[in-house]
Symmetry: C2
Subunit: 127 residues, 2 copies
Amino acid sequence: MTDRESGAGTGEGASDAEGVDVVLAALADPTRRHLLDLLAAQGEVTATTLAERLPVTRQAVVKHLAVLDAAGLVGGRRVGREVRYEVRPAALDATARWMVALAADWDRRLARIKRVAEAAEAAEREE
Amino acid sequence: MTDRESGAGTGEGASDAEGVDVVLAALADPTRRHLLDLLAAQGEVTATTLAERLPVTRQAVVKHLAVLDAAGLVGGRRVGREVRYEVRPAALDATARWMVALAADWDRRLARIKRVAEAAEAAEREE
DNA sequence: GATCAGTGCAACTCCAGGGTTGCACGTCCC
DNA sequence: GGGACGTGCAACCCTGGAGTTGCACTGATC
């Protein structure tokens, strides 16, 4: 998987191959994706509030948010005693572009293989 | 994460929320991504050949291929005693579209929040 | 100041999954 | 036919990570 083929380099978190790795790993967990949905819908939310809406403890939520933060998918801002988290689209944008480019690469390769196979088949028919 | 917002429904594997789940989980492992790279580069490859190019056993490769197959990212075809695997772009295409749509959704939501905040700020300045 | 609320640190549990090894069966080739 | 090769089944190991609980500190409110 040639991660350098993507346009990733303009955002945070998924700026290189390691960034895409980290984002994909972060997105692989269903609880984390649910967290991202809640954050995107509500703007800024604390871990405690998020935990009220999920069937896991606050501590589990904080652990997941740490993974998401490390991946650049969310950011936290302290307001007094509260830490308010929000989504950050840059890493997701970059990973989406990387995946689109990869899918296009696969499509191109398969189309080329198909053309070669059809040419070989046509050559066989002429013999 | 509103998986139903994507255009996923026209391909295999990532046809619904469960499909995106499975693809993301499949892509989260670095060994599997390396496998996908090798398959995409070479067209059709056996598990044994793949294992020669990776620092893991053939059995590990087969396990990973099973995950990729279940996600719709690869398919296997038996030729005599061999099973030849190749990438299938549809599930990756669908997941890429889903992610692009999600990133756009996040961008839109953040832009709206920013506009609301700026309007509130302007209203405060007029008092 | 006392109480409540949000947070952070840390220890703990447990199991899924990434990986290995062993062995048997079917296919291929000389 | 026999040996080499590719495969599939299955048992096994172990660790990372998803989740829990306990406790202390700080900020907010009355």
